[in-house]
């Protein structure tokens, strides 16, 4: 049996559950490699993947005999068979953070389980710690992101629109072996950079604009995530102290990140230093990265857990001055026992694209 499913079987047994319904497609992909619409049933005896005719051929082609998964077409399963999957099971786990209230009610009726039990995100928690293969894919995605950034520095010119830059990022990833984007690329220039969650617009990049570029790609399903705030033409004096403050905190956090670090304290340190200067940390300090761009853990003041070796997370402090500008600097990194390893390695000092001669600067 594949090792992840074996782990899951043991885990739920320890929780006094005799079966589990895995509905979240990302968790199904994590356990089996299957990317489709369907439900994975872990039962006392066999494991079943129930899908529909659209995916049957594809799913069959992905699985090997070692997976020990029986693939079924939902259209062929009778009510009686549904009731039998979990017969003699006292507790059957379900994903309360994924399935809707309506689906919960449907499952209750369909499976006639004695008790559907909340699994409290066991799979999402397990997914926080990456294995060797996952780390390899994440490193590759991050390295593609670094090389894309190197390309961008020479590509971006004053007068280009944010959308053109975002498009170039997509083209670069496409031409260099990525599966696709981790998320919709953010290119926010000038005032637009003051929105933490801006989208690329038709605004043209002007001399003196800060440009926040938040982007990443997927490699074999695994995501990268990096942000740099760079400058068009020159670095305006008023932005420098904010940039320096963000960068100082980003680097300080990197130094503090290792197995055992308290997430709440890491976040509070940054927020406190920002407040000392009249700003504050308006979003979380970071998040886990894996098959999804946002995974556990969330690095926020509310999280009272600690970092663990082989978590892959982001470190992304930012300061936003509404209507003026914003600065965010973000890396994806791997936690180790003694520290952390930056997987994104691009320069974080002032980067000026399409640099202007001194006499052309009006700041």
């Amino acid at each position: 049996m594949n090792s992840k499913i074996k782990w899951l079987k043991e885990k739920i047994r320890g929780l006094n559950m005799q079966g589990m319904i895995v509905s979240n497609p990302v968790n199904v992909e994590y356990l089996t490699g299957i990317k489709a619409e369907g439900v994975l049933l872990i039962t006392r005896k066999e494991n079943y993947y129930i899908t529909d005719s659209r995916y049957l051929e594809e799913v069959q082609s992905i699985l090997t005999i070692d997976d020990e998964i029986i693939v079924c077409n939902a259209a062929d399963i009778t009510d009686y068979e549904y009731e039998n999957f979990f017969s003699f099971c006292e507790n059957v786990g379900f994903e309360e953070n994924y399935i809707t209230y309506a689906t919960y009610k449907k499952y209750m009726q369909r499976y006639k389980a004695n008790n559907l039990e909340e699994t409290e995100g066991i799979l999402e928690k397990q997914r926080m710690i990456k294995d060797e293969t996952e780390l390899e894919y994440l490193k590759k995605a991050c390295s593609l992101t670094d090389s894309c950034f190197s390309h961008l520095i020479n590509y971006i010119k004053i007068g280009m629109t944010e959308k053109e830059v975002a498009r170039e990022i997509e083209n670069y990833f496409f031409e260099n072996g990525a599966d696709g984007l981790s998320f919709e690329t953010i290119v926010a220039s000038g005032k637009n950079s003051s929105k933490p969650h801006a989208k690329a617009t038709d605004k043209k990049i002007e001399a003196g604009d800060p440009i926040t570029i938040d982007f990443g790609c997927k490699y074999k399903g695994y995501c990268s995530d990096m942000t740099r705030t760079i400058f068009a033409g020159f670095v305006p004096e008023k932005i420098k102290p904010v940039y320096d403050l963000v960068l100082k905190n980003q680097i300080q956090t990197l130094k503090e990140m290792k197995e055992g670090s308290e997430i709440r304290i890491l976040t509070r340190n940054v927020d406190n230093d920002f407040k000392l200067h009249g700003y504050s940390l308006v979003h979380s300090l970071g998040h886990g990265v894996g098959l999804e761009i946002h995974e556990q853990p969330v690095l926020s003041l509310k999280n009272d857990s600690t970092l663990k070796a082989n978590m892959v997370i982001t470190n992304e402090p930012g300061i936003y001055i509404p209507g003026e500008f914003g600065v965010r600097i973000e890396d994806t990194l791997q936690i180790t026992k003694s520290g952390c390893i930056n997987l994104t390695k691009s320069d974080k000092n002032y980067i000026i694209v399409d640099k202007l001669e001194r006499e052309n600067i009006k700041s």
Copy 2:
């Protein structure tokens, strides 16, 4: 007050609900134009949109005074305020098809509502019938899709990969004013076309390949959806009868679609005709299209409702012969009182790209 929220307030009053929690971001976008993460609360007096600091500036910039929506930062709302939103409400509606079981439990605790009542998809049902503005955006998205297809016919050459064709589609939409893709473009050539839900791969297009292209774009948030199965070099004789059968049924269905048509019967007619020839309809006959690529209604044997004027739906019969080939032909269309209007208008006869001279055909 904006007319859609006014409609919703009257609707829930008729259902003996005194408030509603709108959590599905697509429903929030439909009602308010807001594209963000947050929750819309329809209460006895005011309407509130609760979001976080990342979106505050953007959301404020979208809303007008006519929207009568108070925007709040979740971080500033106390437990006491949460409890007061729905005080003196007997029943408060929630979206049982969207919120998770865990969120349902959180809402129960947070809002201290007397009773959280399932709204049975009232918003999704209302979204089935498009207004004038929505129809305008859908028409524009479909017209961009037609012009993209015209471009493709001249662009595709034998030897190109499926991914290159998919990329050209994205580039075309990007350069011609679309917001983005409706969904990940399907380009499935040769044997790959036998998978109804194939993705574009690195396979090169060969002479004699059928190529199923299923694609669409978004315009002002609204989606288009079209499929054509075209041919590289020449049309293999063995595919012709299957193509003709799919096309005959696609056209026949278009003739039968109008306000009052029974969805089940439309679907059964196609399935019956396919079975008469030894095939069957393995997926639904179509689906609603709007802010989401897949909306209600689903055109399947299980749906016992009828079509209504100003629904926008797809008509997409397909036949798939595992390991050999597949054919699917799909239009997006608007239902009217007397019939339907095709919004995608591309040719459906045999289309041959990179046509070979007769002496080069080995079929």
